[in-house]
């Protein structure tokens, strides 16, 4: 338990710092790399929570596909590699809004889940295994699963149709 806790805090601090850099960085490529750091961190947190299948999927899909897509987007739009100002003039109101939201959420989360503990044990590992996930996915959530398949096809064809040069 202690080892997982130490791992959590190290990863959490890295994630938080990287997340802040994503929204403040003055360089597009750096922002993308910081985003990848957050995504890998989240994947590690899922492994700590013994959700192995989700953790691995997060890693492959986000780090493998989404992050590469972002970098690809940055390359093809020939974004400048040198720092540039990407912020609008609402920085201070934005900061106020998000800090207020954070304060409210943290206060209410502590109120709602103050002393609750997650017990990491073997039965939790069984829940996150791919056979359990697959069973639930194809028994209970088969309609959304099929809907997602159509959604991916639509997204693919839509993206090609709109990005194609003609």
């Amino acid at each position: 338990m202690i080892a997982q806790n130490i791992a959590f805090w190290i990863i959490a601090v890295v994630m938080a710092a990287a997340a802040v850099r994503v929204v403040t960085s003055r360089n597009l490529v750096h922002a993308a790399l910081f985003l990848i750091t957050v995504l890998i961190g989240a994947s590690a947190q899922f492994i700590i929570l013994l959700a192995e299948f989700v953790g691995v999927t997060q890693f492959f899909l986000y780090v493998g596909a989404v992050a590469v897509l972002f970098l690809f987007g940055i390359i093809v739009t020939r974004a400048p590699m040198q720092p540039a100002d990407y912020d609008n003039d609402q920085r201070w109101p934005a900061l106020a809004v998000s800090l207020l939201l954070l304060g409210v959420l943290v206060a209410l989360l502590i109120d709602a889940f103050g002393h609750q503990e997650i017990e990491l044990s073997d039965d939790l590992l069984a829940i996150g295994r791919s056979d359990a996930v697959g069973n639930s996915l194809f028994r209970t959530f088969v309609v959304p699963f099929e809907v997602v398949s159509m959604l991916l096809l639509a997204a693919l064809i839509g993206a090609v149709a709109i990005a194609r040069r003609d």
Partner: protein
């Protein structure tokens, strides 16, 4: 133990999926071949998908699949029929617009039908995951369709604004849903969440979770103050897509709100009632006041649809005190709004074919140059304003009936706001009608208007619905009564 599949319950979605694949493949195999236009194929596919909806309606039994996550009841069937009819009319109004431009035709109908598939799935979705997935299938194809005029920077802007608002609203909605999942002890089924809400021992965080979820939906239905993207997106998108966005995609959002409120949050009314009340009042007022100032017909209709969205939210905001009447009012309002708004957009498309203009000025003298279009446009606009004997009055009537049944200070105040807004709305709708009949046309537009066959059918269908419901509302009121699942 193999899961037992009730194919009949899933038949509308399955048939439409099949039709979608057929459209895609046919477009690939027979590009631009005469006699096999993708628009005809698409409209045929949509009509075929209506057949299982009818057989399900005749059968009448409620079906619940996959542990209650997918339900086919009268409410779902009625709205499936609504979405398929709207899709059919949208294909009709798109046919010549898309056919004459340099657009990808097959892909256009493919994306349109995919979005409709999401709407069908939404009507039956009874858990958070299904609702989320269906909402995304509704939205993602429309992001692309909004930018379909690729070389027009206005259309590009419409797409990026709609897209960014869409993904942002999904993220906010999902954060709310994730909190609901945790607070309710790991429930995704709306029925289970309903039991949790009814128990009444939820911490204040539950109210925040409901608020965030509703904010996500408020973006989708462009309720004030989350409406700012709608006029730009509506103006920049190709007009048939605008018609689709303002009717079908908006109705999809309302169906989601209806399901999640009635089957999930219902007993936690102190959390959602004030939110919906404020959204309804703000949408009606801001939408109507801004519509008054518009000079472009599509922007005017965009703000008008924001205001109409507010009217649809009114019964939802009093749902706790008049559950049956409110549910009926929302369903009936959606049906009638669909017919009159699609009709208005069909006229806009027909007029723009000749004048190449979206300005309200270009409607001057339409009554002289194209009397039929003039009559139809006046009818749709006056129906939107709620003037009897056109269908719009019945929509307003059921809305006010729900308000009066609910009673109470909050409901009555909202009813007064709605009444004042109905009067304000009359001015801008009637303003366009006045130009049509009492102003002289610009000289160069003297020639007769030619309206293509598909567009004529779309206009006739919308006009028929608006007239028949307006004159014989009792025929239609039955649909609303049947749809109530309580």
């Amino acid at each position: 133990m193999n899961p037992v599949f009730d194919y009949h319950a899933l038949a509308p979605e399955l048939v439409l999926s099949g039709a979608i694949v057929v459209v895609l493949v046919a477009d690939l195999l027979f590009p631009d071949r005469e006699g096999l236009q993708t628009s005809r194929l698409a409209s045929l596919g949509i009509l075929v998908a209506l057949v299982p909806v009818l057989t399900l309606a005749i059968d009448g039994a409620d079906r619940s699949l996959f542990g209650g996550g997918f339900v086919v009841d009268d409410y779902a069937i009625a709205l499936k029929a609504f979405f398929l009819l709207v899709a059919y009319v949208t294909v009709l109004v798109s046919a010549d617009y898309v056919g004459e431009g340099d657009y990808y035709k097959g892909e256009f109908y493919f994306l349109l039908m995919s979005s409709v598939l999401g709407m069908l799935a939404m009507t039956s979705a009874r858990d958070l995951i299904s609702i989320f997935v269906a909402l995304e299938l509704i939205s993602i194809p429309t992001f692309v369709l909004a930018g379909w005029r690729k070389h027009d920077t206005k259309s590009n802007e419409a797409a990026i604004k709609y897209y960014l608002i869409g993904v942002l609203s999904s993220a906010v909605m999902l954060y709310g849903m994730s909190l609901i999942y945790g607070l309710s002890g790991g429930k995704v089924l709306l029925a289970d969440i309903g039991k949790f809400a009814a128990a009444g021992d939820a911490p204040p965080l539950f109210a925040v979770a409901i608020f965030l979820t509703l904010v996500g939906f408020a973006f989708k239905v462009s309720a004030v103050p989350f409406h700012f993207w709608a006029p730009d997106t509506y103006e920049g998108s190709p007009t048939p897509v605008t018609a689709f966005l303002s009717v079908a995609s908006k109705a999809g959002g309302f169906v989601a709100i209806l399901s999640i409120i009635y089957f999930g949050f219902f007993e936690a009314d102190e959390s959602w009632q004030p939110v919906l009340w404020a959204l309804a009042a703000a949408s009606m007022t801001v939408g109507n006041l801004t519509a008054l100032r518009q000079t472009n017909i599509v922007r005017m209709l965009a703000y008008s649809s924001v205001a109409q969205g507010g009217f649809i939210l009114v019964p939802l905001a009093v749902a706790q005190d008049a559950p049956r009447a409110s549910f009926e009012a929302v369903v009936i309002y959606l049906f009638i709004y669909g017919a009159m708004n699609l009709g208005a957009f069909a006229v806009v498309i027909a007029v723009a074919r000749r004048t190449r203009s979206g300005e309200i000025e270009s409607y001057a003298g339409l009554g002289q140059t194209a009397p039929v279009l003039g009559i139809l446009m006046s009818a749709f606009l006056l129906s939107l304003a709620g003037i009897p004997p056109l269908a719009g009055w019945f929509a307003k009537f059921v809305m006010f009936r729900a308000v009066f049944e609910a009673g109470g200070a909050g409901a009555v105040t909202l009813g007064v706001i709605a009444a004042v807004n109905s009067v304000i709305a009359f001015f801008y709708y009637a303003g366009v009608a006045r130009r049509i009949w009492f102003e002289d046309p610009a000289a160069e537009l003297a020639g007769p208007a030619r309206v293509p066959a598909a567009l004529t059918v779309a206009l006739a269908m919308s006009a028929a619905v608006v007239l028949v419901i307006g004159v014989y509302p009792q025929l239609f009121a039955r649909v609303g009564e049947l749809a109530v699942p309580l």
